[in-house]
Symmetry: C2
Subunit: 132 residues, 2 copies
DNA sequence: CCTCTTTATGCGTTTACACGCATCGACAGA
DNA sequence: TCTGTCGATGCGTGTAAACGCATAAAGAGG
């Protein structure tokens, strides 16, 4: 019961739902998530922290990046929850826009799924985000 | 997206999950919910309020009681969410205990589903709850 | 060692819960 | 109208969350 509440606490925020929606696409590093959501770095990091603590997301360090991924169905309850989320979020307007933005970013050289071209599009995008 | 987050906010608390679990049984008045959860009256009332505002629960006044029920699938997203909850909560230890307590209460004369025996077991239970 | 990129965290501010106590308001029945 | 039962709400307290800014920490690569 407390575990269930913890899962739902993790989902009880628009930004975190957007993050999960992106992670259904696959493993992502923090900077790409920050870029798509267009929030401050600390906000992105903290939301990822909450998702980890809620037991919904795992992370993995690779160099100076950290890659985040969904917990892989240790729990049947989580697996079914993710099924529900995929089904529901896929119809959402914001989710669709985020996915488009993510695909664009990947095409331009984001650092997804460990096969990133280092420091190509990313640095430029960060400058852009900061309005420089 | 914001609507989804609102639903999950409604579910992000153990007591509210317990309430929803009870409401899967059917319409219930506030006093019975308070009795089963064994929380203060204000706590029960406020949680019911949150569930209403989250768009998960409806209420109906009948005399000096208010009956609460689940929103009936106006939204396919809610219907599927409830399906998930029924499936998941039914396996939970606390949920099972609550359901047992509710059935006992109904047998003893609680005011469920509009066919209540007025003021029989209920007043006694309230005194009991208050430790008198 | 120094610098750059990425991520985590301390700080302050604001808002939202969570809880019980006490009280008010709504209603039914005498 | 008076009383009893229910439910909502104002109040105070304590905790947690959300956000950005600034800074530290981790790692890569000169």
């Amino acid at each position: 019961m407390q575990k269930m509440a913890s899962y739902f606490k993790g989902l009880a925020d628009g930004n975190r739902l957007r993050i999960l929606n992106l992670l259904f696409h696959g493993e992502l590093c923090g900077c790409d998530i920050q870029y798509v959501l267009n929030v401050s770095q600390s906000t992105a990091s903290r939301h990822l922290s909450y998702l980890k603590n809620a037991g919904l997301v795992l992370d993995r360090r690779a160099g100076y990046r950290v890659y985040y991924r969904l917990v892989q169905s240790g729990d049947p309850e989580i697996a079914q929850l993710f099924e529900y989320l995929v089904m529901t979020l896929s119809k959402d307007k914001v989710s669709k826009a985020d996915m488009r933005k993510l695909r664009e970013a990947i095409k331009d050289g984001a650092c997804t799924v460990s096969e990133w071209k280092p420091l190509s599009g990313l640095a430029a995008r960060n400058l852009q985000t900061k309005g420089v």
